[in-house]
Amino acid sequence: MPVREIGFNGLILEFLEKRILFVTGKGGVGKSTVAIALGIRAALEGKRVIVVEVASTENASRVFRQAEVGFKEVEMANDLWAISIDPEDSMKEYVLLQLKVKAMRDLLFRSRMFTYLAAATPGLNELVTIGKIWELALPERKLKHGRRYDLVIVDAPATGHGISFLQSPRTFANIARVGPIHSQASQLQAMINDHRQTGSVIVTLPEEMPVNETANLEAELTGDVDVAVDRIIMNALYPDRYSAKDLKAIKRLKKSDDPEIRAAGRAAISQATRTESQREQLERLKSLVSAPVSTLPFIFTPEIDLSAARRLAEEIS
């Protein structure tokens, strides 16, 4: 086997040693970008990693759409694999692995039974999706010739739905008291609650509402849901550019005759005001949560794409 080149000399992130990481947070905080950045970082650290998008999350991420990632493992960037999990496909694959007789499988697939079963059984889609995540993380894949991954990073659904997503194995283990679904669900629940192998990262923004929601989310995850929270990443922090003395000088710019200089002064003041409240929110977050908090800088590009994710990958601490 060829020796893998380790392309990263910085700090090794110990939570990337886990097998499964769920990246979650409120909608619009940059969850997908951070999930991909974490994937790039793990790949740089020499890990075989796959980033999983759960089909129909709040926004199908731009990067995934551009790379045309579907229900098939594809290499999105160097050493970074990706898959978009579709519940219906997962269900089919599950049955495929359960039923060895081909005629039987064909009969089932033709009958549209899955569609009916999924429609009648709330939460079944979530359950089979988690089942697929588990399969991807197995050292010995169930899938023939399946690639082995060291780490599976899941771009999980946003806050509210994310909680019920992670709880679906328990819900099912409770609903089905005995039988194959019960034992499968119990197995998945054990995986989710295994703090040594499975963890989560909460992504948030330096603003009032996301900070509050993050504190609640952490409490729920570490409480009832029983999932380890390894990191809280505060995304999109402005650079702290100006001293008090600088700001005094900048404020005088509004008296300038040049409209461009006045505009530049205005933009600087506006960002400085935001920066100050961002730092307050960062401190507030730290006082509210128990997991370690790290930050990522705001990226000043029109749209956040793969190259932005690459830049962020090296900044994660």
Binding site: A120, V178, E208, M209, Y242, I261
Partner: protein, 384 residues
């Protein structure tokens, strides 16, 4: 370009829709406050307001019933309320609303308890996909029927897909009817035809994979619901009708990034397709362009140097402005694309303010934009 006040003129219901993280809750609260100040009796139905926003509205103890925001709080902020204007607010509790709905449609207490105590019902009543959306509409319908308010403003739940909202009534009733499950319980007649040849074999295979126990439990759940199906259906139809009523108006809230705008355009086309009445789009956190020419770091550093007498600082301020302008240009482009896609429909821009909005003063600040005409909005935002 009309203001939100013009758009809502004559409407009884305003539904704020959009994907997560675009400021729907804040926008809904601002609209409700603005309309109340203009002399309407308004109630805003929200899902999960920021704690500080709720606090500032004096709504700490808020539950599944509407309560009135103390008018003294407006006076404190110097907000004049025209006569008759009242602001009410409530926080939706999907499970409580679902329970109340079951209680309403159950034939008797025993039937009600059979559902409420059913294990599957307890697991899903808060979490079933679409149930939160439907319960929000259910509550809206209830308040509308009571006729206590001039205007109801609904902050829609942060669903995975803004469209979940539109077909939630249908999906929920279809689910409760349990048609799809009949195939597993009684694989004969129609059900067998749907399932195709060899349904019996298929069922037995499925039972092996899924477990008979689970199928039996589901069956029990749907049986418990069976007596209520007519009531639920009838109600869902009326809720659906209310959504397409002439006096119901959808407002799409969006961010200024490309993907957010794309989703708004898509949602708009679906609204039109479904015969809903679209009022306009509100774009939040817009960075207005502050100059017409594109700034260059080098040249700007030079001209700033003479004013600031500090080369490093001049460079930092210049870079800061160029970075700002990149984002402002992006916002300009995506809003132009939005306007083109929406045709003549109103698009209201709210600037990216220097501070977060989490109190009445902040909501009032947003309203300076929402309730102004386009020209005054631009003047306000660019400081010209």
């Amino acid at each position: 370009m009309p203001s939100i006040g013009d758009i809502l003129e004559g409407n009884r219901i305003c539904i704020c829709a959009g994907s997560g993280g675009v400021g729907k809750t804040t926008t809904s609260a601002a609209i409700a406050l603005g309309m109340a100040a203009r002399g309407h009796k308004v109630c805003v139905l929200t899902i999960d307001p920021a704690k500080r926003l709720a606090d500032s509205l004096g709504l700490e103890e808020l539950g599944n019933e509407a309560s009135r925001v103390d008018p003294a709080l407006f006076a404190e902020q110097g907000i004049e309320v025209e006569s008759g204007g009242e602001l009410w607010a409530m926080m939706l509790d999907a499970k409580e609303t679902f329970d109340a709905l079951v209680a309403r449609h159950a034939e008797d207490a025993a039937a009600r308890d059979r559902v409420l105590n059913n294990r599957i019902y307890q697991q899903i009543s808060g979490a079933l996909a679409g149930s939160q959306e439907y319960m929000a509409m259910e509550k809206l319908f209830e308040l509308h029927s009571e006729g206590r308010f001039d205007l109801l403003v609904l902050d829609t739940p942060p669903s995975r897909n803004a469209l979940d909202f539109l077909d939630a009534p249908t999906r929920l009733t279809q689910f409760i009817e349990g048609k799809s499950l009949q195939i597993f319980i009684k694989p004969t007649g129609f059900a067998a035809k749907v399932a195709g040849r060899g349904a019996g074999v298929v069922i037995s295979v499925l039972k092996r994979i899924v477990g008979f126990d689970l199928l039996a439990d589901l069956s029990e759940f749907f049986t418990a619901f069976s007596g209520m199906i007519d009531g639920f259906q009838d109600r869902a139809h009326r809720v659906s009708d209310l959504l397409s009523d002439d006096q119901t108006c959808f407002v799409i809230v969006t961010g200024s990034q490309g993907d957010s705008v794309e989703e708004a355009v898509f949602f708009h086309s679906k609204l039109i397709e479904n015969g809903m009445h679209f009022g306009g789009a509100i774009v939040n956190r817009v960075r207005y362009r502050l100059t017409t020419k594109i700034p260059k770091v080098k040249a700007l550093t030079k001209s700033l140097e003479s004013e600031l007498e500090d080369a490093d600082l001049a460079h930092e301020v210049a870079k800061n402005f160029c970075e700002y302008d990149v984002l402002a240009l992006r916002d300009e482009r995506s809003i132009k694309a939005l306007r083109e896609s929406l045709g003549d429909e109103p698009v209201i821009r709210v600037p990216y303010l220097d501070t977060d909005v989490h109190d009445i003063a902040g909501l009032n600040q947003i309203n300076e934009y929402l309730f102004a005409d386009e020209a005054s909005r631009i003047d306000l935002a660019t400081g010209s």
